[in-house]
């Protein structure tokens, strides 16, 4: 019944759509608010019965949990064959808020209970006069009834407290029992939680660093709801993997599988006026913090200290990434805080500023790729470059010769031209400017199953399926939580890469690198690896999961083995359409021998502890690394 305030004895005139005609024919009570319908003689005209084929939908009345599904069947008693169209509340195919229905009659309830909570699913025949049948569906608040634990997935420093609350439909203060990672009331390792939901974090980070907080309804133990909490320290920030702040709704060019994110706080230099910005992409292949102008709200870009050339023109920057995307906007001074580490008064870039026209020579040197000026295009609120550089350019941009591709500009009279910028005024790696733990970072991400994970961290309602977050740990060998241990140190060559990568006994002198920004393993080509590329996506699609063994070698001849998993990407993505984290997503990244190249993106990092050392530092073990290093 849709609406239903109206008398059924109203004749509908001039119905404009098949759906309306169908509804009338079937004798449904239809509130005719829809445009184009008029009611004549309401209350006086007798309803007109028409002999029609009979359409029956079953089950006729049922309920389903939010997010659940029901398979409806339809029977049509008719002398002629007909096709069936499905509607939810007269919307063909349904909608995100009402739930959707397929052409085969599979109704999928919306994730949130709609208002009202009852919808009508209707099957309309293509036969003469469009006879129809319908069913009533009541959407309930999930199978558990206990709908949420607040706050949701979050992070907190060790030895701090977090107040949790549980929401039970129809009960303002539900009686629940709390547990931490399956331990009732928690313990000193994973943290403890009181009957009132006050969680006290442990004194040190547990392993894994993420715990599951679960509320169980005290009067019905089948009703549970869980969330995750990631513990951090002053030198360790949480690492999330998900589809980004706008999911995959943005540009296809920046699809956000394997997006690695953390939280970064930006402050006006020397003040306590700060703003914490979530969903900042963590990038080991670039240097410096770049934040979208649109995300700087409590700390607006207009209040950050400008950087100016000798003619008092404000310095702008354009960075073109090797995937053709580019970031354009001013360089400005800010204090940058990540976890408990602070880099004071360092240049950052604010991107998405439209004051000046984009200078083609550097922004577009690789072609007119996407401008990373919006959340949708960037798939993030900013980029935190924690590569080996101390500045994003260095001496190249500090004077002397300039050529195409230089990033720094001034734009007098909106006529942008390359400008030399002293090293100290170039966008800087915040890590190198921390007071301590400033010689590099460690990226620690959990192992994943071959099917991938919905996101990191992730837990289902009862905590039985759980993936922890990762950690971005500052410093190498400076604290108990960032020791190199048994990791092999690979000093970067002058190009910032492995000097050589060998596959199947053949060395590829173009080498390769590891790179958290790349969303897949960009490796070689189908002919070299002997695995097929997908026909309808840009990835590899081996007939069965492939294992690619590589030998990576550094500039000093130190070498080690790396094993990569390559799944059939079409099957992987089709089987897990909502997943964001994959350790076996790979695509071709080279033309042919010997120019093959190996860009080992985020999939490489799952299940590993990877260190990236800052240029000029010496790794423990005495390895000198003038260009920085990777270690794992």
């Amino acid at each position: 019944m849709t609406g239903g305030k109206n008398s059924p004895k109203c004749e509908l005139r001039s119905p404009k759509s098949k759906a309306h005609r169908a509804a009338v024919s079937a004798g449904l009570l239809l509130w005719v608010a829809a445009a184009g319908l008029t009611i004549a003689g309401c209350g006086t005209t007798t309803y007109k019965n028409i002999a029609l084929p009979v359409v029956t939908v079953s089950p006729a009345s049922t309920s389903v949990a939010a997010g659940g599904s029901i398979q409806f069947t339809v029977s049509v008693v008719s002398s002629t064959s007909t096709t069936i169209s499905w509607y939810v509340n007269n919307v063909q195919g349904g909608s995100a808020t009402l739930g959707t229905v397929t052409s085969a009659g599979l109704y999928v309830a919306p994730p949130v209970v709609p208002t009202p909570s009852t919808v009508t699913v209707k099957a309309v025949s293509s036969a003469e006069s469009n006879p129809s049948g319908s069913a009533i569906v009541t959407i309930t608040a999930g199978a558990t009834g206990l709908s949420a634990v607040a706050p949701g997935d979050s992070s907190t420093p060790v030895s701090t407290t977090v107040q949790y609350t549980a929401t039970l439909e129809g009960d303002a203060s539900p009686a629940v029992n709390w547990s931490v990672s399956g331990v009732a009331g928690g313990n000193s390792t994973v943290g403890s939680i009181t009957g009132a939901g006050l969680y006290t974090a442990p004194a040190s980070i547990p392993s894994p660093p993420t715990v599951v907080i679960t509320a169980t309804n005290a009067v019905d133990s089948t009703q549970v709801a869980s969330t995750t909490l990631t513990l951090t320290t002053s030198n360790a920030a949480p690492l999330f993997v998900n589809l980004g702040p706008e999911g995959n709704t943005g540009s296809q060019a920046t699809t956000n599988y394997n997006g690695l994110y953390t939280n970064v706080t930006v402050c006006l230099p020397g003040t306590n006026m700060c703003q914490t910005i979530p969903n900042i992409l963590v990038d080991t292949s670039s240097v410096g913090l770049r934040v979208l102008n649109s995300q700087l709200t409590t700390v607006p870009a207009s209040e950050l200290t400008t950087i100016r050339d000798s003619q008092n023109n404000q310095v702008q920057e354009c960075v073109q990434f090797p995937d053709t995307s580019y970031a354009w906007g001013p360089a400005l001074y800010a204090d940058v805080v990540v976890a408990g580490e602070k880099a004071s008064h360092i240049p950052i870039q604010v991107i998405g500023d439209t004051t000046y026209n984009v200078p083609a020579s550097s922004c577009l040197s690789l072609g007119n790729g996407p401008s990373l000026s919006t959340v949708a295009a960037l798939g993030a609120n900013g980029i935190l470059g924690v590569g080996s550089g101390v500045q994003d350019c260095g001496l190249d941009c500090a004077g002397g010769q300039t050529f195409s591709g230089y990033p720094y500009y001034v734009c007098p009279n909106n006529n942008c031209k390359v400008v030399a910028v002293p090293v100290a005024q170039q966008v800087a790696n915040p890590v190198a400017y921390f007071a301590q733990d400033n010689n590099g970072v460690e990226i620690a991400l959990p192992a994943l199953p071959a099917a991938g994970a919905p996101q990191l961290p992730y837990t289902n309602a009862d905590g039985s399926i759980f993936y922890p977050a990762g950690l971005l740990i500052f410093g190498v060998g400076t604290q108990s939580n960032n020791a190199l241990g048994g990791a092999t140190v690979y000093a970067k060559d002058g190009n910032g890469n492995f000097a050589n990568v060998t596959f199947n006994g053949i060395p590829y002198p173009s080498g390769g690198l590891i790179d958290t920004r790349s969303n897949a393993l960009y490796i070689s080509n189908p002919a070299t690896l002997g695995i097929t590329a997908c026909t309808d996506s840009p990835y590899y699609c081996p007939a069965s999961p492939a294992v690619i063994p590589l030998t990576v070698e550094d500039v000093n001849g130190t070498s080690g083995e790396v094993t990569l998993d390559v799944a059939n990407a079409d099957l992987l993505l089709a089987s897990n359409p909502d997943f964001s984290a994959f350790n076996d997503l790979a695509r071709p990244g080279g033309t042919a021998y010997p120019a093959d190249f190996f860009d080992l993106g985020l999939p490489f990092f799952f299940g590993r502890n990877v260190f990236v050392g800052i240029a000029g530092t010496t790794a423990s073990g005495g390895v000198s690394a003038p260009n920085g290093y990777f270690a794992f």
Partner: protein, 155 residues
């Protein structure tokens, strides 16, 4: 270089190096050597020309390891280009008319963040990789590569 050195007759190679204090004529991919491209206006560095077996190599060396190479067939046409250095040269000037192939690719690529660029069209092969502070790549036109040469000389 170690991977293909044996493929070239290095010993018999005639090496003629001319050092220029000014930029020589510099043409884009696919163009005649005699046509002067816009590159000359933006590329300031030391140029040299080497006669090799089956082709001529033009190279401009810029500061801090940056270099741009052009491979010219005996017919005088630029059949390949390569680049490396801290930044990406302006591909419009390097690729000439083939820049539109790159443009088309840049705008049609899907599900990408990061990673090298690979284009393998019937008559245009392009590879580019890099990260902040380093850029490297090559491009060639298969139909212009002299019959007795492998396109792998372009590197």
């Amino acid at each position: 270089m170690r991977a293909c050195g044996s493929g070239l007759k290095v010993i018999s190679e005639v090496l003629l190096i001319l050092l220029w204090s000014v930029i020589p004529s510099w043409a884009a991919l696919g163009e005649l050597e005699s046509s002067v491209g816009a590159d000359a206006n933006v590329l300031q560095g030391q140029a040299q020309e080497q006669l090799r077996t089956g082709y001529t190599l033009h190279e401009i060396t810029l500061t801090r390891g940056a270099r741009l190479r052009e491979y010219v067939s005996p017919a005088g046409r630029v059949f390949g280009v390569s680049w490396q250095g801290p930044f990406t040269p302006n591909m419009q000037q390097v690729l000439g008319a083939h820049f539109s192939d790159l443009q088309q690719y840049a705008q049609s690529q899907t599900r990408r963040r990061g990673g090298p660029l690979v284009i393998e069209n019937r008559d245009f092969v392009f590879f580019h990789s890099g990260h902040m502070g380093w850029s490297s790549g090559r491009a060639y036109v298969p139909s212009l590569v002299p019959a007795n040469l492998s396109p792998e000389v372009v590197r």
